[in-house]
Amino acid sequence: MQTYNNITSALFDFLLAPFGHEIALFDLIVWPVIMGVGALQVYKYTSNQKAIARVKRQISMHLLEIRLFRDDIAQVLTSTFKIIAKNTVYIGHNLTPMAVMLIPMVTLMVQLVAHYAYEPAQPGSVELLHLKLDPNASISPRDVSLEVPDGVSLDAPVVRTADGQVFWRVRADQPGDHVFRIRVGDETYEKGWAVGGDVRKIPIKRLRSWEALLYPGEAAIPRDAPVLSLELDMHTRPLRFIPDGELGILIWAMVLSMLAGFALKDFFGVTL
């Protein structure tokens, strides 16, 4: 999991933001379009194009039957069932390309989110740092302590809950890429906090589960650690001309790549 994140992050840190993170629109338009074109190529070479064309023709034929013989209820029902059956076949033909495209597309969208979904905290802002312990681990919240970096101060006493959560309210005094050091028993975990400065790729959250694949901005928490998650409340970066936030970027990238695919399918000679 961590190796995959390291490789893909290294690649996309190199590829994304050629003109700096300020101009988010460039990456958020170019890469979904590239993704759409790439998906077309994958579709072309991993699907049975002839079979797809045939099943689409058959569906059209059955639709025509319904239109021509609409007074014949038996014929309409038969054609409808055939359309459903052919649609199932059509979806079956799509499974292979979808399986091939899934990982690269998710990887790209995850990287776009990592780079553009959030903005650094403002100096002076106050946020909650939240640690969640594994309930199966034999560590008590009382065994957790925080080392606050320079430029950050603790704004209130710590709160430790009975269900194994620990909360700190921290204040960003100075801009910088700060790193908290959190001692859990004998282990120490780090958590980054981007404060002030230019918009940039910033750490979002650290997770122990498979979901760490979705947050490549920071290292995943080791599988044998007693900590399930480490996160700071983040501020969504307003993108103004496209939907912002994690979901906004995901929907935008998906829709734009599909539009690009449909627009260019004839150019690349692909039957969808």
């Binding site: 300020e22 101009i23 209130a156 006493p157 430790r160 809950t161 009975a162 959560q165 307003p238 103004r240």
Partner: protein, 675 residues
């Protein structure tokens, strides 16, 4: 004023414009006017202001009065904020704009209803589907205020207008001007502010205005220290399970799960509510937390609010206060600005703020959930909001613009804190609600709020261009409220209102009044209505009898003396048909009761209750008032110009705004320019 755009787009746009039009990029001043800035201070009283100015405690007001003009400003009749501000907004009297009181009545059943929206019409039908009630037909909430706001007139004439927290503008009418609603804006429950108090201790209050949620603090980790409490926070009514027109009961609201985790070692806790959470310390307020309530499953129709918490006590007993759930300015589920997007501009600069119309936690203070210190601490949060908003307004003000900002600092504080010492007449006898234990610490609270407003004025003058027309105004003044008058009880004793079965007490809302024998009734703070045949659903007074009956009631009320001290309770009675003009006059109360200073209609009678007593001491914390005769509560007017005449009223300020830009008043506007 500018629309907020990304900086790079601004630069590009500016570059293109500069290239194309050369020097024509600068903001055009309408008719070469420097612009107008209006500071509306609800409830600022001329007597208190003059005293503090004379004592040198209001240097910025003193300077403005010296350099310009300072005089009393005639208020509306009745002098209630929604009425007075509507006079100012439309330039009309209530007969024109149709707002006669905080409360009107529904003639079909005599029930009091908010004057903000029209009386409900025919109920919409509903479709029942899979356990959901889907309303069919009906209409969106509509603002009841008639007339044309001055900002619409200015905007139509190409003046850039921004208006912040104007009372009586919710539900939000469409406008070309940028307007943020103020007083009258509802919370998520649909009311004017319902708080929630979570506690494991008995609260000795019979009918609290908020929800008291009793919780038990559990020891989940079995370490001998209880630390976790769970409950719910109520949000909007569950519209898809309510029949059209059905009044929701306490179980008919959507809820969000609330969990309080109290730290074992410190006076600190984390409150989780819905998907949001915040960390609070004892004796402090939390930040705002956004919380969503789902009207439909799977988050298909979320209604988002914002709430903040006050940890009154965490140990040994839990006393956690939750503010009313405000419409979130980050994602309002219904418009609180015009245009809708204006709230985004405000939020991006100001951050979270109270959107609720009257954000002061006065119900908590009235109920004894808060003490004076806690109340004042919460008011300071509102002052911070106001300060940020005024900075935002000043940042955007450009020559030729008109901007209005509203300050609630004085009004609610005079209502709630007058009992500690009469700021109008410091040597006056103690208020019936005077508490010698708490009064010394709070004797100068109102004075301090006046001084805060003075500091705000100083900031505004410092930042405004010197030639801007600056108007400081209030909608009414203030008086002590020492004696409560139960109008409906008086009408009963005088034989005008009859209760069923010969009983002495009852309530209009619960059907206790025998309308077949009742000739007059009171609803609202100053309204008195005849039970008129053909207008009220069970009216018995004919049009021919009405005039004589009104004269009779007026004469009796004007002659009424308080047995305690012999003072007149009512200074003057006014006939609606005589004091109002305009198309909405038929909706007016038949009589408007102009109470003498110190007197006012009780809350009970205002809402339709008929009590045992007629007059009693006001021992409530709501101890200052202005719901009296307009003669005893004038407002204030300061202008940075020398005025040649006095005797102006609120509609004259409206006329001034139009005439300043050379715009003729609309038909029905009654004022004259003060300049």
């Amino acid at each position: 004023m500018r629309t907020t755009l990304p900086p790079n787009l601004w630069k590009t746009t500016a570059l293109v414009c500069a290239t194309l039009f050369g020097g024509a990029l600068s903001h055009a001043e309408p008719a070469g006017k420097p612009g107008v800035f209006i500071m509306g201070v609800d409830g600022m009283d001329p007597v208190i202001l003059s005293r503090l100015v004379d004592e040198g405690k209001m240097p910025n007001f003193a300077k403005l009065a010296r350099e310009g003009s300072y005089q009393e400003l005639g208020t509306s009749n009745p002098p209630q904020s929604p009425v007075a501000w509507s006079n100012f907004v439309t330039g009309m009297n209530p007969g024109g704009h149709g707002i006669f009181d905080f409360l009107h009545r529904d003639t079909s059943n005599y029930h009091p209803i908010s004057s903000a929206t029209p009386a409900p019409g025919e109920e919409a039908s509903a479709l029942h589907l899979f356990g959901y009630v889907i309303p069919l037909g009906g209409s969106d909430p509509k603002n009841n205020r008639g007339g044309t706001p001055w900002w619409d007139v200015l905007a139509e004439n190409e003046v850039d207008v921004e208006v912040f927290r104007i009372p009586g503008n919710f539900p939000t009418p469409e406008s070309k001007a940028k307007v943020l609603d103020g007083m009258g804006t509802i919370d998520l429950r649909g009311g004017f502010g319902t708080y929630t108090f979570y506690t494991d201790t008995l609260v000795e209050k019979k009918h609290p205005k908020g929800d008291i949620e009793y919780v038990s603090v559990q020891d989940l980790d079995l370490d001998g220290i209880p630390e976790t409490a769970t409950s719910v926070l109520r949000g909007p009514p569950d519209q898809f399970h309510l029949e059209p027109g059905q009044i929701p009961s306490s179980s008919d609201y959507l809820t969000a799960r609330l969990t309080v985790h109290i730290d074992a070692d410190s006076d600190t806790a984390v409150v989780e509510v819905g998907d949001g959470r915040t960390l609070i310390e004892r004796g402090k307020w939390s930040d705002w937390v956004e919380v969503s309530f789902d009207l439909l499953p799977m988050g298909m129709m979320p209604v988002t609010g914002s709430v903040r918490f006050y940890a009154q006590q965490l140990r040994p007993k839990l006393k956690l206060y939750a503010s009313p759930v405000n419409i979130s300015p980050a994602s309002p589920f219904m418009p609180i600005t015009s245009p809708d997007e204006f709230v985004e501009e405000i939020f991006s600069s100001v951050g979270f703020f109270y959107t609720q119309g009257m954000p002061e936690e006065q119900e908590a203070l009235k109920d004894g959930v808060f003490d004076d210190g806690e109340y004042i601490e919460q008011v300071a949060l509102i002052q911070e909001d106001t300060g940020r908003m005024i900075d935002f307004a000043l940042d955007r003000f450009e020559p030729g613009d008109t901007t209005f900002v509203y300050l609630s600092d004085i009004d609610l504080q005079c209502h709630m804190l007058w009992r500690h010492g009469d700021p109008k007449h410091p040597g006056a006898p103690n208020h019936p609600a005077f508490d010698p234990a708490t009064a010394p610490a709070h004797a100068h609270d109102i004075e301090n709020f006046y001084r805060d407003v003075d500091a705000t004025l100083g900031k505004i003058r410092k930042r405004l261009p010197a030639d801007t027309l600056l108007i400081v105004m209030s909608d009414h003044g203030f008086q002590p409220y020492t004696r409560k008058f139960h109008l409906n009880a008086w009408l009963r004793d005088a034989g005008y209102l009859v209760i069923n079965d010969g009983k002495k007490t009852g309530h209009i809302l619960t059907g206790d009044v025998d309308w077949s024998k009742t000739r007059a009734y009171g609803v609202g703070f100053n309204g008195l209505y005849l039970n008129l045949a053909g207008r009220e659903s069970e009216g018995i007074v004919s049009a021919a009898e009405a005039g004589a009956l009104l004269a009779e009631i007026s004469a009796k009320l004007e002659a009424l003396k308080d047995p305690q001290g012999g003072k007149s309770v009512v200074l003057e009675m006014y006939r609606g048909s005589e004091i109002y003009s305009g198309p909405r006059t038929p909706e007016a109360p038949d009589l408007v009761v102009g109470y003498n200073e110190g007197y006012g209609c009780s809350d009970e009678s205002t809402l339709g209750e008929i009590t045992e007593e007629i007059l009693e001491d006001n021992t409530s914390r709501w101890s200052g008032n202005h719901l009296m005769s307009p003669d005893v509560v004038p407002g204030i007017l300061l202008v940075n110009r020398k005025l040649s005449s006095d005797g102006h009223d609120l509609t004259d300020v409206t006329a001034t705004l139009l005439s300043y830009y050379g715009i003729r008043p609309l038909p029905g506007m009654t004022g004259d320019s003060i300049l």
